[in-house]
Each structure stands twice: as C-alpha cells, then as structure tokens.
C-alpha cells in the first residue's frame, strides 16, 4: 500500500514537471533555455517509463532523446543566429492568445469526455515490453515489417538531409 501511494505521488509530481517544462519550452523567449526545458521534459517522461517498469525504454529515452537529439538541437541553435527570429517571435501576440484559448477549449473538451467514463488502462499489457529482450524479440517478430520500413525511412531522410544541405547547387551551368 505504501509503495502504491509513493508511486502515485511520484507519478503526479513527475507528470506535473513534464507538463510544466513542455509549456515553458514553448513560451520561454531564449531558444537555448527552451532547449533545456525540453531536456527536462524528456527526463520526466523517462521517469514515467521507469514507473511503468520499462527500464530499457527509460534508458533509451535518456540516451537518444535527452542525449543525442538534444546535442544536435543545441548545436544547431548555437551555429545559426536567431536574433531576427527572436524579434519576430515577440510580435506575434495574436497567435499566443489564440493558442491559450484553444488550449483551454481543448482541456474542457477532454475533461468533458473523460468525465463520461473512465479509460480502461492497459497497464497489464504494457509492462511486459519493458526490458531489452522482449523489445528485441518483438521487433524481429511481430513488428518486423515496421522495423524494416523504418530503416528505409531513415535512409531516405538521410539522403534528403544531404541533398538539401549540400553546398554546391547541382547543375553545372547555373551561376
């Protein structure tokens, strides 16, 4: 019982942290700060995975998202100058108002819908895919096709990134 209550408390705290840091990520003016809030949101969701008993997913979340992806984003922010864009971002107040209004409406809708009947959680099914062994075997049996297609997708995305960022414009005769 005590463990359950402790879990529940941690869950509520971490969820609030995740939501708060996501919101701050959007509204903070400094891009670097917003990147750091994103790290916080990633780490909070890693803790949520841990609460569900998915150690492997939690580790992946931290290594891939909080580690690799964040590094890239921070590199990009540091390499390109965002001063003009920051000025532009301050001007857009109408969109902000619209965003707040829509968020509130959406929350109300959500509460209304959830109020009708509670969602039947699928915790039982989820906890069994937490460790590396199960994920690995699932990827090579049930989810083999999506796994393979995802690899082709990554190849296509990589080719595209190279194409778009290549320095010399293709085509000999132009410029």
């Amino acid at each position: 019982m005590a463990v359950l209550i402790a879990k529940w408390v941690v869950f509520v705290l971490v969820s609030l942290l995740a939501i708060a840091s996501s919101v701050l990520m959007i509204y903070v003016k400094n891009t670097l700060h917003s990147a750091l809030f994103m790290v916080m949101a990633f780490i909070a969701s890693a803790i949520l995975y841990l609460l569900l008993g998915c150690q492997f997913l939690a580790m992946l979340q931290i290594i891939v998202y909080a580690g690799a992806v964040m590094m890239l984003i921070i590199f990009v922010i540091m390499m390109i100058s965002l001063k003009d864009e920051e000025k532009l971002a301050r001007k857009i107040t109408k969109t902000k108002v619209a965003g707040v209004v829509i968020s509130i409406l959406f929350m109300m809708l959500f509460i209304l819908i959830m109020g009708f009947n509670s969602v039947k959680g699928k915790m039982g099914a989820l906890t069994s895919i937490g460790d590396a062994k199960t994920i690995g075997s699932l990827l090579f049996t049930r989810f083999l096709l999506p796994f393979e297609v995802a690899s082709v997708l990554l190849l296509a995305a990589m080719v595209g990134a190279v194409m778009l960022s290549k320095k010399k414009s293709f085509g000999g005769e132009d410029q």
């Binding site: 959500f110 959830m114 039947k120 049930r142 297609v149 194409m163 414009s169 132009d174």
Partner: protein, 482 residues
C-alpha cells in the same frame, strides 16, 4: 517468416532495391546524361513492379502478419501508383534537365515515397499506417525543395515540412488514443473489440481519436480547414513534384482513409458522416471559388486540387458501395488528367522563367495545336465534360450521393462543378481565342514527355469512353475490403 510472406512484399522489395541501386549509381553519374539514364532505370522499376502485381491477381488475400495485406484493394491502388509513377518519371526526364536538377537522388526519392504510398494502401495496423505515412511524406518534403535557386521552392519545402510534421503529430496522437481505448493496433483486433463491446461502454476517447485521425488525413488530402498550405507548396515545388504529390499523396491518403474508416470505424459511420459532410461541402466551395481569381495556372491547379479532394469526400460521405468504388475510379482518372495538365506546364517551363501564368497560354492553339488540344482534353476532363474520365467520375460520385438520399450534397456538388467550368475553360479560351501579347517561345518536346502526354490523353479518353472494366475492378476491390 516464410516464402509466402516475402512474396507479399515483392513490389516493395523491388522498389527499395531499385531506389538503393539508383543512389549508388547516382554517385557516379552527376551530369545531365547520367541523370536521364537514371530516369530510365526508375522507369524500368515501375515496369517490374507492374509485372509483379500480376503475381497477386486471383490469389485472394495475402497478409504479412497483422501489418499489411495484399488484397484486390491494395492491388488496385498499387496500379494507380504505378500509373502515377510512370507518368511522373516520363515527364520528369526532360523537366529535370531544364531546371538543372542533375541528381539521381530525385528518382530515388520518388521510389522511396512510392514505397510509403503502397504501404499506406495496404497497411492493416496502426503502427504500420503511421510509419508508411512518414515514409511517403518525408521524401516529398525534400523533393519540394529541389529547386534550390528558387526561393519559392525552399519556402514550399519548409512550409510543407513544418505543417506536415504538425499534422503528423495530430495523426499519431489520434492513433494513440485509439490504442488506449481499444488496447490493440491491428485493424482486425480493433474492429473485434468495437463489435464485442456495448456502445456505452466504449471509451469516448475513440471519438477523439477518430477526430484526430481525420485531421491528419485532412491535411494530406488538402481538405478545407487544413488546406492553407496547398497553394504555396504546389506553386513553389518543382512542377513534376507537384504533379506527383497532388495525385500520389491524395490517392494514398484516400486509400488508407477508406480502408480504416470503412473496415474499423464503420460502427460509427453515422457519427463521422455529419462532420465529413460539412468538410466536403466547404472543401469544394473554397477550392472552386478561390481558383476563380487565380492568374497563375499552377496555382489555379492547386486550388482545383482542393476542390477535387472535396468531390472525393462527397463520395466518402455517401458511403455506399457505389460511393466507395467511385473514389477508386476518380483517383485513377484524376491521376491521368492532373499529371497530364502539369506535364504541359513542364513543357512550357524555361530556366528561371516558368511560363505558368495565364497569359503564357494565349495563342498557344495556333503555334502548338496538338499541345493545346491535349491541354483542352485535360481541362475538359477536370471540368467534368463528356466524353472524358472526369465526367464519368463525377457522374458516379454524384449519383452515389443521390443514391444515399443526400440530395443537398449532390446539388451543391453539381453547382460547384458548374462554377469550376469557368476557370478550366478560361485556359482553353486563352489558348484559342486570345492573341499572344509577346512572341511565344519555342518549346522543345522530348520523346518521353510526348509519350507521357499521349499516355495521359489516352487514359482520360479510355476511362471516359469505356469505363466499364475499370469500374468493375473498382467494385471488386471494394468488396475485398469488407
């Protein structure tokens, strides 16, 4: 995994191996000649895929686990994608030369995104559906930005990418909500869960999930509240890519939409029909009325593409067997007429001067009578004038609406179609009845381009005069879905 399952993937394996092969060859063939050779290799892959589809005919349903299924429905759509691929690649070969896209990666990306389209039409699992949607979209985001000297192209790529990522977020959230409320990702299991549960015991999140999925699809087919990106992206992207995405993405999104909505969410048909009704009417009206004032033909075709999404949604709302099979027929017809019209625009494009405005068409009928004739056929077909494919398609769509006793929808659709005649025929009027203000430049016609135009004209007339066979196949394909 046995041999049968690998066989199911054969068309995809062919596409993927050709695409990777092209990437390798592309590294050594950087000049214009090498690029057109690669174009012919890509064309060969289409032939192989086309031939491989015959292996599935008459085999019934072949499934890859719960992930995807090759049934008659998938085969029909794969055929549509092959048609789109052949027409686009043929038209691209000289357009790529004119605009200076000397890179084999262009063709590789076309093939990559076609893998996604084919998977979208045949996937029977939410996980597969999402990955195939991304597989289709990401290469197209890239291809939209291929004219790197043109600011409009970069803008198109960026706009499409940002909004597309946003729409993907909605789509993924919708899929998650469906998973939360049913505990399954395969279509069959979800349908079983919904059938086995009392309507009041179902979580309300299913409805929210359906709404979110609708937003995702609405973005991809350019339906009304999610259409704002369309004109800019279609105008800015290279014309060959515009032709490819206007037809291919639309066909793939409708394929997945029809499959998931009519096989999984059919118990809720009554609920989503009312919303789709409004979306269909607004999509048609907004598309057609905005197209009226366009001076740029490429932009006009972009708005007309929104209007055509509206007609397709009319058939979707009608929801009966006739409506569903007319979606299939119309998508094929639309592929022929739309790519045909864009190919004419590609012929007229010069480097740094694309000749896309209406004035460029003035007097074209006198200097290039055959080109003007082909363009007229495509315009007549889009306007829905017999004896073209567009007429038969619209006829079946509106009769499906009448058959489901939705008379208002049919009336609004026909009125919209009448409005659209104005801007389609304006192009024809410019070509035949208007003196050119300046000298018409010399357009060069390469063999593949001419072949592409001839093929498109043939398709439009064949489907318009003898639509029986294709309609039968479309009807059978729909039966396989149930």
């Amino acid at each position: 995994m046995n041999l049968n399952q690998i066989m199911t993937l054969l068309p995809l394996i062919i596409l993927a191996s050709f695409a990777m092969g092209i990437l390798l060859i592309g590294a050594f063939a950087k000049n214009a000649k090498g690029t057109s050779t690669i174009g012919y290799i890509a064309l060969a892959s289409m032939v192989f895929v086309f031939l491989s589809l015959f292996l599935f005919v008459g085999k019934g349903k072949m499934a890859f686990g719960s992930m995807m299924r090759m049934d008659v429905y998938s085969i029909f759509f794969n055929l549509v994608f092959v048609v789109i691929g052949v027409l686009t690649i043929l038209a691209s070969i000289s357009y790529v030369k004119i605009t200076g896209i000397h890179s084999g990666e262009y063709y590789a990306l076309i093939l990559f995104s076609m893998i996604g389209m084919m998977l979208m039409a045949s996937s029977t699992n939410l996980v597969m559906l999402f990955i195939s949607l991304e597989m289709m979209s990401i290469p197209i985001y890239i291809m939209a930005g291929f004219l790197r000297n043109d600011d409009r192209s970069i803008e198109a790529s960026m706009k499409y990418f940002l909004l597309g990522a946003f729409a993907s977020g909605f789509f993924l959230y919708g899929l998650t909500l469906i998973y939360i409320s049913t505990g399954a990702t395969s279509y069959q299991a979800i349908a079983n869960f919904i059938a086995g549960t009392q309507r009041w015991n179902l979580s309300k999140l299913i409805w929210v999930g359906i709404a979110f999925i609708t937003i995702g699809f609405g973005f991809k087919v350019a339906a009304f509240p999610f259409h704002a990106w369309t004109p800019d992206v279609y105008e800015g992207a290279p014309t060959s890519v515009t032709a490819y995405m206007a037809t291919g993405v639309k066909a793939a999104a409708f394929a997945a939409l029809v499959r998931i909505f009519f096989s999984v969410f059919s118990p809720f048909q009554h609920d989503w029909t009312s919303i789709m009704w409004l979306i269909a009417v607004l999509t048609m009206t907004v598309g057609n009325f905005t197209a009226l004032v366009q001076k740029n033909v490429k932009r006009m075709l972009a708005y007309s593409s929104i209007a055509h999404a509206g007609y397709l949604l009319v058939a979707f709302v009608a929801g009966n067997a006739m409506g569903r099979s007319s979606i299939l027929f119309y998508l094929l017809a639309y592929a022929f007429m739309n790519i045909g019209a864009f190919t004419i625009l590609m012929v007229m494009a010069k480097k740094n001067d694309y000749h896309e405005d209406l004035d460029s068409f003035a007097g074209l009928g006198f200097k290039y009578p055959l080109t003007a004739l082909a363009m007229s056929v495509f315009m007549f077909s889009m306007a829905g004038i017999p004896p073209t494919a567009g007429f038969i398609g619209k006829f079946y769509i509106f009769s499906a609406a009448v058959k489901s006793h939705d008379y208002w929808l049919a009336v609004i659709g026909v009125l919209n179609s009448a409005v659209s005649v104005y801007y389609y025929l304006r192009v024809v009027v410019y070509m035949y009845f208007k003196e050119p203000e300046e000298e018409i430049p010399t357009y060069r016609f390469s063999a593949p381009t001419v072949f592409s135009i001839v093929l498109a004209v043939w398709g439009v007339l064949q489907l318009g005069i003898l639509p029986g066979d294709i309609l039968n196949i479309a009807r059978h394909s729909i039966m396989a879905l149930m």
